[in-house]
Each structure stands twice: as C-alpha cells, then as structure tokens.
C-alpha cells in the first residue's frame, strides 16, 4: 500500500514537473530543496493529492519540508487519510 502510494506520487511528479530527458528521481530525491518543485508549484501538487485521495491538507501542514521528498509526501497523505 505504502509503495503504491509512493509510486502514484512519484509518477505524478515525474509527469508534471520534470522535463523530458531529465535525470531520474526516487522516493528520497529532494523535490523542493532540490529545485524540482518550487514553492508555487507545491500548491498544484497539494491540490493533486487532495483530489486523488479525497483529503484536505491544511496550509500549515503543507510546508516545503513536508513536501521535500516523495517519501515525506506519502507520510503526510497517510496521516490525513487516517484522520
């Protein structure tokens, strides 16, 4: 389940935020601090997660740190899915 979730997020990030031919990324690649997803684009990533998993992530929890890797994003989604 956890890996399925991570794969969905990873595939979305690759499809939406990476240019064709970009270096591959993994579950622990820094997305925000690595400059792959900027803080403005984070809003669209948050929206995707909310749509996909029918959750609501409060702005205070949607920090650059919480969105920095696929791993961390999956943790965040799981936290709000359970809530």
């Amino acid at each position: 389940m956890a890996d399925d979730l991570k794969n969905v997020i990873l595939n979305y990030v690759v499809a939406e935020y990476l240019e064709e031919g970009a270096d591959p990324i993994g579950f622990d690649t820094p997305l925000i601090s690595g400059g792959i997803v900027d803080s403005f684009s984070m809003v669209s990533l948050k929206r995707f997660l909310e749509n996909q998993y029918k959750i609501s992530i409060p702005d205070d929890d949607a920090t650059p740190e919480a969105f920095d890797t696929v791993e961390k994003i999956a943790d965040l989604v799981q936290r709000f899915t359970r809530a």
Binding site: E16, E19, E20, G21, A22, D23, P30, L31, I32, S33, G34, G35, I36, V37, D38, S39, F40, S41, V43, S44, R47, F48, E50, N51, D60, T63, P64, E65, D68
Partner: protein, 567 residues
Amino acid sequence: MPNIGSYEERLKDFQWSAAERELGIEPGRPLNIGWHCSDRICEMGKGDNTALIWEGLGGVQKQFTFDGVRLASNTIGRFLLDLGLGPEDRVCLFMDKVPELYLGVLGILKIGAIGQPLFSAFGDESLYIRLENAGTKAIITQRKHAPKVRKILDKLPRLEHIIVVDYDGKAPLQRKEIAFSLEKSAPVEDLEIHPTEAESPSLLHYTSGTTGLPKGVKHVHYSIVSQYLTAKWVHDLRDEDIYWCTADPGWVTGTSYGIIGPWSLGVTQTVLDGGFSAEAWYKFIEKHKITVWYSAPTAIRSLMKAGENLVKKHDLSSLRLLTSVGEPLNAEAVIWSEKVFGKAFLDTYFQTETGSIMITNFPGMKIKPGSMGKPFPGITAAILDPKTYEPYPETGRIGLIGIKPGWPAMMRTYWNNEETYQKKFRNGWYMTGDRASLDKEGYYWFVGRDDDIINTGGHLVSPFEVESVLLEHPAIAESAVVSKPDPINMEVVKAFVSLKAGFKPSPELDLEIMNFIRKKLSPLAMPQEIAFVDSLPKTRSGKIMRRILKAKEWGEEIGDTSTLEDD
C-alpha cells in the same frame, strides 16, 4: 561605522562622479561591466580572492577566485565569438543558478553582446514571447531546459544557437544545439574586451505590463555606477564580507546585486542552487559564515513560519547585515528578524526599470518597521498627486511614487517599444506605478500598485498575460485574473473563469487549468485559486471589470458601478 557614514552628510555634496572615480571610469573611455567585475579586480591585486562560492544539489561545491572568474568569462566570451556572435547580439541565459549563469553574464558583456537572463522556471509560452521580442540570436541553457526551447524553435527563425552547458553525450544534440563545457575548455587568458561605452546596451530584463506583452527593459554599461555605490552603501559590502543574494539572475536583483554590485566591489559572493528550505538556508549561512544576506519578504515570512527553534539550532553569528527586496517588508517581519537574528532586515525598494536601489533603509539609520526608508543620495523622489503629477506640498497623503530621471542605472528604453517607455514619464517624473505616502521625517511608506499588476513573492505577473493563456484552454470561454491576499507571498494569482458549453466545473478541471498555466507561463503565474463563474462583470461596452473582482478579494469598496453591464 557603516560605509555610508552619515546619510545626511552624504546628501549635502552627493555626486555620482565620485563613484565613477572609485571605479576608474573616465569620460569617453570604454566602459565594460564584464571587465570591471573581473579583470579590473585582478588588476587591483585581488585576483586570488574568492569571487564565487557555489553550492548545488547534495552539497556539491565549486569555487572561483576573481582570476578564475576572469578566465571563465573570457572562455565563454571566446566561445560566443567563435560562433559568430558579437556586439549587441542578444544572448539569452536560461539556466538554474549554476556557475555558468553568473560567469556567462560577464562573458556576454565582454564581447559587447546583450545578456538576456530569463527565469528557468518559465514555460515555453513565456520563453517564446521574450525570445521573439528580443530577436535573440543564441540561448545558453542546460540539458533539462533544452526541451522547452525545442518546442518553440520553429517559431524563432532568428535563434541560431542553443548552447548546452552540461551536455553528457547520452542523447544526440538536436537542431541548432551545440555543447559547451567550461570545465573541459582550455582557459582563455587573453580576450580582447569589446570597447563598449557608458551608453552601450548591457542587459535586457523582461518585466510584466498591465496590458500587452512583457517589456524588455534595456540597461547600459553605465548602470554599474549605481549598482556599485548602492551595494557599497546599502549592503555595506567590504573586502572581508561573504555575501549572499538569494535572488535568481532571471530577475533584476539577481544581476544588479547578485553579480554586478558585489563583484564590482571585489567581494566574495555565495550562491545556493536549490529551492527554498528554512533548514537548508540556515545550514548554508552557518557553513559559509555569511555576513551580509539579501533576501525577500516571501522567504522571510516562510522562515517565520518555520519557527524560531530552527534558528536556535544553527550558529548564525556571522551575520552582520540583513537586507530585503521584492515587495514591501511588513513590520512584523522586521520585528521578528530583530528578535531572532538580533538584526532588523533593512527593506530596499527598486524596480526592473530603475536597475538599482531607489528608496531604502540604510545601515546605522533609525528603522521604522514597515517603512521603505529614504531615497538613496542622488535620487530625487516624491509623492505625486495622481491628477496633476505635482508633488504633494504636505506629508501624509497617499499618491504615486515619482523619481526624477537621470541616475546611472535607469533603463534607457523598452526594447522595440519606445512608445510605452515614453508613457512612463509624467511632468518630468519617472512614474513607478507604485503608491505610497511620505511621513514628516522623510520616510516612505508603501501602499500598493497603481495598476492591476500582481506582485507575488516579489515577482510581477501580468493579469493580461495569464488571461490570454487561459483562453487557450479548450474549456474556458472567458477569464479574468486578479490578485488575492496571501500571508506568505503578499499576493497570489486568482482566476475567474466561465466555461464553454459542454464543460462542467470539477476538481480535476481546476487542477488541469492550474497546470496548464504553470507549464505555459510559469509557476508564479499559476492561479492558486480558480473560481468557476457563470459570467464575469463587464462594462456596457463589454470590457471585463477586474477592479470589481479585485475589490471583493481584498474586502474593499467596489466603487462606481454605473458603467456595469445590466444583468
């Protein structure tokens, strides 16, 4: 004692010519920013001093001395000359904050070409508009950004070369592409510097307008005089400083104060090539013992959100001066920085068009949190009556910020758009388009824009540009774009759209539209909120009334609606 000494004393006998003398600029002699920021510093005996400390993903670090900067910019200049590029050719830099961006600016200037730095997060539509308008002949980019250039290449017949600085040989180069590796190129010791003059064009920075397409702001080599002196007196830069300007050179701050200001003074500067993270930023300051830090209100508010405890985990005692730019710095952020860093961020104010700081808080000056500060010596500013364009005789009134033209870094025109340039002047004043008031002690207080331009995170976004691209989406019939308040970015983009028959609002469509704008224009321009409406408020002549939508977002009076179309 700060470099500026006494602000009041400086006002008494101020002459830009004093800065010219310090820079060794003589009337009628060549003046080249590329040479001044590298060769000249070496001639002053500082060639072995560190010019650039660069850190990329995973902590990878590169360093250049001023002699290294001289050689690297020579090498890039030679490569461009060998491609047949020369004086006044527009050469775009479309890269992340990699060393080649900083060194490339100097290399381009050394051969007399015009540098056109563009934010690497721009989508293909934003890129196309700017390259087409400038008639750009070459673009220097990275592998990861080359696909955006390929998408628009057929529409850009004047674009002759796509220079890829990190080609790894894995996939073949495509049409017009050529690889350049700074590391693998033999350093060029001697490059004949093109004898540019004070008024020769140097950089072309694009900025958004309320209506129409983005405008290319043309700067000249003489701008270095303003940039040198403001870096010296406002950022208080000294030989021993380690300076960090967090701005991207795709924006004017990143060239004026991320390249020209510090390097014309021979000061070490640092670059962190990565996205924002409070933890990473504090680590960077601690690691490199940064002394002067020039950042932006959006970043400062994000640091506030990350909390004080994070600050305490790091030794930030090297910091001696904090400055801020991009949008007004709110009083809370000033007070917070004083509490947690022991120093207040000094707010500075300027624009792409002004090229250098116009109104600012100075080291050593009494800070009024939330104020813009006072005009830089040599700058005559005023609050103008919007009807007469005359300065208000009394203080405390809100009006338009006007500046008397004539400082060295002022733009010389908008590229291929002299008509719009001329409209920026009224009654002998350069009109900034910003509103403010002046208090009895001569401090300026920012109020807001005088037009519909959206200032999000310190970057200007044109509602017109976003609306136009929204209409390219197959589901959208009509669109209107306004700013809405945001606690971190001051303002963000909000779009109102009505849909064509057969389309219905849905969370999926909402996200699709957001991503459509992000990819076509840029993440900054992406609406952070989309409202699906049946129709938009219009005048009887059919013009969409943005101001009504904006007033609602900001909780302001809607004002006169007598010309509103009947329901």
